[in-house]
Amino acid sequence: MTLNTSRRGFLKGAAAASAVLLVGARPDGALAGGASQGAKLNPFVKINADGMVTAIVKHFEKGQGPATGLTTLIAEELGVSMEDIAYEFAPSDPGTYNNLLFGPVQGTGGSTALANSYMQYRQAGAAAREMLIQAAAKEWGVKASTLDIVDGQVTDGTNQAPLAQFVAAASQLSAPENPRLKEPSEFRLIGNAKVQRKDTPPKINGTAKYAMDLHLDNQMVAVILRSPRKGALVTGFNDADATGIKGYIRSAVLPNKAGVAVYAEHTWAAFQAREALSVEWDNSNAEMRSSDQIREQLIAAVNADPTYELTETSAAKAQLSMDGAATVLEETFYFPLLAHAPMEPLTCTIEAAAEGGVILHDGCQFPTVPHGALSQILGLPMDKVQINTMFAGGSFGRRATPVADYQVEAALAFALTDRSRPVKLVWSREDDITGGFYRPAVAHRVRVGLNADGDIMGWDHRIAAQSIMKGTPFEAMAVHNGVDHSSVEGVTQSPYVIPQQHIGLTDVAPATTVLWWRSVGHTHTAYVMESMMDAAAKAAGRDPVEFRLSYLTGDGADQKRMADVLKLAAEKGNWGAAPEGRDQGIAVHKSFNSYVAEVVEISRDEDDYVKVEKVTCAVDCGVAVNPDVIKAQMEGGIGYGIGHVMRDEITLTEGVVDQSNFPDYEPMRIGDIGAIDVHIVASNEAPTGVGEPGTPPSAPALANAIAVSGPRVTALPMINNGVDFV
């Protein structure tokens, strides 16, 4: 069953049916049920009078799997097969569809989709099940306790009847407050590796609709000519050369003077007209620095006293503890700016709706932010702004910005029209690569002292970064005592028990817009922690796995889970027994409450060019709801991590981004990575993140493999720092 078929089925059913069972949460959080006609509920579960079940998915689907995961939770508790449940994306309504880990905000991020929805969606499915059973029990004149729902049929063990038969009666009942949830031993779908993705069918035959694929009647395409420098303002433009382009409509300066909106009848005309436009910029407040200067500033910062002290252990104390050390290791690390470059360039469409409202069609990651932004810019009350969430062609963090950047552009472009025609904003790949919102550039400096036995005596760790969260609406949540947690996470709160560890942070002034990028702070903290653990093990003459395990002892669950994935990855990856001509590197890291260890195996050809031959991964993410989706996320997270450290960086020359498209921001290619073997730790702990945690250990595991018979790479990307790849 495809999504399209299901949707048609639902619409048809809804129109024809007098009763549709809805189960969902009221704004106060309590479960509630009722008939759909006129019912003011925003449900998680819909059941048509014809028995078709639809899960309402509150998280957007960028490939990470919630369309399958949240649907699985409903299907499991309700008692229907995965084939007999459809899904649709929730409207923007933070009162009902908020991320329970984010507060009153509807959004996807931080690898939280399943973690925050696990109990909520199971309860919604279980409540629906109990209401249907209650209705059936009444009709059959039996006790509810004698009935069950199996594969979409209400049954007493002998007789059975389809759900459709009881939908009308069930919709008159109130939802139970505490529906019984299934025991793990009763699970048929949760943890079942054979459950397949719900979004596969439309994504292999061209029918899946991404925001880029929307084509509304009478729509205009708008592209924006932005300043190559952050902070520059438009002072004038000339479109004389664009007027001859067939399909070109007009251009207009955006009200914030950040660029010129170019309107055309279709995409190609818009791109061409933009090429033909000449614009004058006022650069007096524009960013004119180069990335070399940013790098120097970061390195200087980690060599000075940090602004923020994060540990009771001071730098002086950590230093003192290294007095008399047999070995002191010191490394300075540099991480460049990185673009997210999701496969689908950014795009969204705004159209006028009934009663003066608008609809935003978007692969919408964080509905609450653009919802508010559109309401403000277009001068509409919140209830006049609707959001239609469509498939997103990747994100890696890019589609969620604290300022709703591209949706704001679309709203500004729409506001400059008479609003009679839908406006589809399209970004090109060049817009994407040069458009800001990068993983921040970061430096670390670490000193580790080892005694004669090869044990750590002290660890002095300084980080300098441009803060992601400061100055955004997320500051209150993510910044405490001046410390942006996302700059240091992974060095702080590491499960390693390290003696005499000092951690300090210095913020550097903004140079460009920065943003969370798949695994956020862990993109650099895991690299540094795991490179230093490896270097320390090597200097101590100890096995890197044994060395790490000696800092993961004790009874703490945190240490045990980290140690267990490390041991599992080592075992499955034949740690220490690499085939002839191969080198292995290992890394382990906790992020988003999940524990992941990876063994990377590389070969070198006659010219010393490196190839990533094999990656073995062990993950503990609590209950594995969709094991195959988890494996896919580990595979993808590993590729994303390794691909970027191999070749990619964003650099600036006098404020202008030097890269522009894939040829100079080279994506990982199929030949760059061999087999990836993923092992999931069996667990009954609450489910934790999987979208991001595969990424952090991948790059240091590669770096550690390279360091076996090559350099220890402390500045990225690797190709600019002494490593060549096949």
Binding site: D199, T200, G206, M212, H215, I670
Partner: protein, 154 residues
Amino acid sequence: MTLNLKLNGQTHQVEAEPGTPLLWVIRDELKLTGTKFGCGVASCGACTVHLDGEPVRSCQTFIEDVEDAEVTTIEVVDQNSVGAAVQAAWAELDVVQCGYCQSGQIMSAIGLLTENSKPTLEEIDDYMSGNACRCATYQRIRAAIVLASEKLEA
């Protein structure tokens, strides 16, 4: 200019200026959106279609150059045995994540298996190197091509 475009077995009269990439005619004029815009410079392969059975990047194929050719897009590839086998393998192994590049991946995979029904892993990597996947579904793409090859042999 008006020209005839033979696409998916039908002839369409389309209106487009010379130099217009085939991609935008397919997407914006014919509204077949399975063929994706990813980079516009033939670097990512998301826009891959078949021109007389051969994979080409439609973002760098110009409309005036295809008038005598037969264009095939993702929407109809299940109509031949190789296309159906590739799609079946993609479904079986749940290759997709975000899915945005997968039309192009499938079009290239069909091109590969049409000219080489039993490719080695090296041949797969070589042939598919122009199709980027930012979700890095590469190992499943490789496995699905091997599986499709086996399906075609059976």
